[in-house]
């Protein structure tokens, strides 16, 4: 049943003009980021009269292409996922969905998977750019793959955060705003607080290790745990109305 809901959510996104528009704009932005990164790298190499080395270009692409892409997703994911539950409330579907013979976990996880897969498809399209480059240049695939895995985990976490906020609100735009503000605050906290707790709590800080090519189990566990906690909160919230004894407000 979770798979069915995930497929349905994917269909909903694929039918949404806004999702297509967002996906198109993201591809345009990613293409521009990629080409500008490559051009700047070639210019730097020409100045230094050095050969294009595999680790040099890969690192440069990660810093100037994948890292900005992650920042773009801090804005794009809340906008793409804000409707996940709040949209059902706004469109009067919520009570029908609550009355279906589904568990809250099936519903919330299904929606999460559907929305995540849609964004992964957008990321996958942008990897075509890297694939084209790899015909002529030997890239550091391991480094790029590690950074890519970090980006996917990062997107999952923002999706779960937005889904949770979406379960709290009747207005999708509020969910998007709350998610965006949370991510920006955590990002700023990571950038300014040194090695404190705020940095540990920030997804951006954990993404940084991936971008450096370090596959640290603590970072992997962090992303999985945070995503799991947010989904659990979303499940709890979804069931709040239909489970006896939970306090709720209309």
């Amino acid at each position: 049943m979770t798979t069915q809901i995930a497929l349905h959510e994917l269909r909903v996104m694929l039918r949404s003009p806004f999702a297509w528009l967002a996906a198109g704009l993201l591809q345009l932005l990613f293409g521009w980021l990629f080409l500008s990164a490559v051009e700047r790298y070639i210019a730097l190499q020409a100045d230094a009269t050095r050969q294009v080395s595999e680790s040099g270009l890969s690192s440069y692409l990660i810093v100037h292409f994948l890292a900005p892409v992650s920042i773009v997703f801090m804005v794009a994911t809340p906008l793409l996922c804000m409707h996940l539950i709040a949209g059902d409330k706004q469109a009067n579907r919520y009570n029908l969905l609550l009355s279906l013979p589904l568990s809250a976990a099936q519903f919330v996880i299904g929606k999460f998977i559907g929305a995540t897969v849609f964004q992964y498809l957008i990321v996958a399209l942008s990897t075509v750019l890297l694939a084209i480059l790899s015909f002529d240049i030997d890239l550091d695939i391991t480094h790029l793959a590690t950074a890519g895995a970090g980006l996917l985990l990062f997107i999952s976490t923002i999706t779960a955060l937005t889904l949770f906020y979406s379960s709290l609100s009747n207005k999708p735009i509020l969910a998007a705003f709350a998610s965006f503000v949370t991510m920006i605050l955590l990002w700023l906290a990571a950038a300014t607080s040194g090695n404190g707790m705020l940095q540990f709590a920030s997804p951006s800080a954990h993404l940084h290790s991936f971008m450096q090519g370090l596959l640290d189990s603590r970072d992997v566990i962090y992303f999985i745990a945070i995503t799991g906690i947010l989904l659990t909160l979303g499940v709890w919230r979804f069931d709040a109305q239909r489970v006896r004894g939970r306090h709720y407000e209309a």
Partner: protein, 376 residues
């Protein structure tokens, strides 16, 4: 847009009338059977409801439902039973708690207290099994506007756990019954509100539920579509029961064989439509004086009694005269302020409830507009 009514009879109401006639006759019990717990709104239900149903015929049983939003009590001790073949009209002014009650019955909103049995499953103890037997159509069509009709119905069929091999036939069945054939491949968002309401009905019926819960299904329908909807409900299987909320007395009278009247979250009347509309019965609007309150509903010979407020009752009795009622009350030490015979029980009751709400201080003005919406 709206296709002609698809019926196999000249009179779409005829099958329904036949169904109404098939409802078992209600036994009028003795007053002693129903005088307990009669202190407040909860009390005055007609003795007719004390007919003993067989367990097999029971489609739904709601007991003592209480529900609140924050500090506001929305439902207070609502109980009723629904048998296979019943069409229960849920009536009440705006804000009475009708939609909330339907949400609680559909499993979308858990009550604080009380139970809802659908067949052998309690809705909040065995929710997944119980929900399999419920079809719920919210007041505003719960649709995905970007989907085609057929795609939306397929999604709902999957969610209702209809086996893959039977999904297409289930869809064909509801598409035919709801007369959606010519729009089945169209995008729902481009359909008229009448067709969207039909899609809403179709999704509720697709799995042939034991209990069909329809929250104001007449919203957005034109007169022809209203007749079609009545016909649709009339052609439901005798193994199914329907709960149907409406502001329209005429709608409920035409479609339902029972009526449950909700006011301020309390069930104040649960009776058969036949009983209320029987011309041999007499209905009185009764106002009593003094603080010596008695339970009027406990008087012998009454078929239905409803307390509008303290010492203000609407009562119906079979072949009852004003003199007889006067004797009964005076012999119990009651002083009668006024006693008016009325023609239409539900109509009069609604007017009285509307007047009561208007007389309340504070936000009662809401009800002024609401009572205007009642179809007389």
């Amino acid at each position: 847009m709206n296709g002609p009514m698809k019926t196999d009879t000249q009179d779409p109401i005829t099958p329904y009338k036949a169904r109404k006639r098939s409802v078992p006759q209600i036994n009028v019990g003795s007053a002693d059977e129903w005088t307990e717990n009669s202190s407040d709104w909860d009390a005055p239900l007609a003795p007719a409801l004390k007919s003993e149903p067989t367990q097999q015929s029971l489609a739904m049983q709601a007991e003592d439902l209480h529900l609140r939003y924050g500090p506001t009590q929305i439902l207070s001790g609502i109980s009723f039973t629904l048998h296979h073949g019943d069409t229960l009209g849920l009536l009440g002014l705006n804000g009475a708690g009708k939609s909330t009650l339907l949400k609680a019955l559909s499993g979308a909103m858990a009550p604080e207290r009380g139970s809802v049995h659908i067949g052998n499953n309690e809705l909040y103890q065995n929710p997944l099994a119980a929900r399999m037997d419920i079809g719920y159509a919210p007041d505003k069509p719960a649709i995905y506007p970007e989907f085609r009709v057929i795609e939306f119905l397929k999604f709902i069929a999957t969610m209702r756990r209809i086996p893959k091999t039977k999904i297409n036939s289930a869809i064909d069945n509801v598409v035919e019954r709801c007369n959606l054939g010519e729009v089945r491949q169209r995008v729902i968002g481009n359909l008229s509100s009448g067709y969207q309401q039909r899609v809403n009905l179709a999704q509720a019926m697709i799995h042939s539920p034991r209990v069909l819960i329809l929250d104001e299904p007449a919203n957005g329908l034109d007169p022809v579509q209203l007749i079609e909807m009545r016909y649709l409900i009339s052609t439901l299987s005798p193994d199914q029961a329907t709960i149907f909320s409406s502001h329209s007395l005429s709608e409920v009278s035409a479609v339902c064989n029972r009526v449950l009247l909700v006011h301020s979250g309390h069930s104040i009347l649960d009776s058969s439509i036949d009983l209320l509309s029987n011309s041999s019965n007499a209905t009185f609007d009764l106002k009593l004086a003094g603080s010596n309150e008695i339970d009027v509903a406990a008087l012998p010979g009454l078929l239905a009694a409803c307390r509008i407020k303290s010492n203000h009752w609407m009562v119906t009795g079979s072949c009852m005269t004003a003199a007889h009622l006067n004797t009964l009350l005076v012999s119990r030490g009651q002083k009668i302020l006024s006693m008016t015979k009325t023609d239409n029980y539900l109509d009069s009751l609604f007017r009285q409830l509307g007047a009561t709400e208007q007389a309340k201080p504070g936000p009662s003005s809401d009800f002024t507009a609401d009572s205007n919406g009642i179809d007389q």
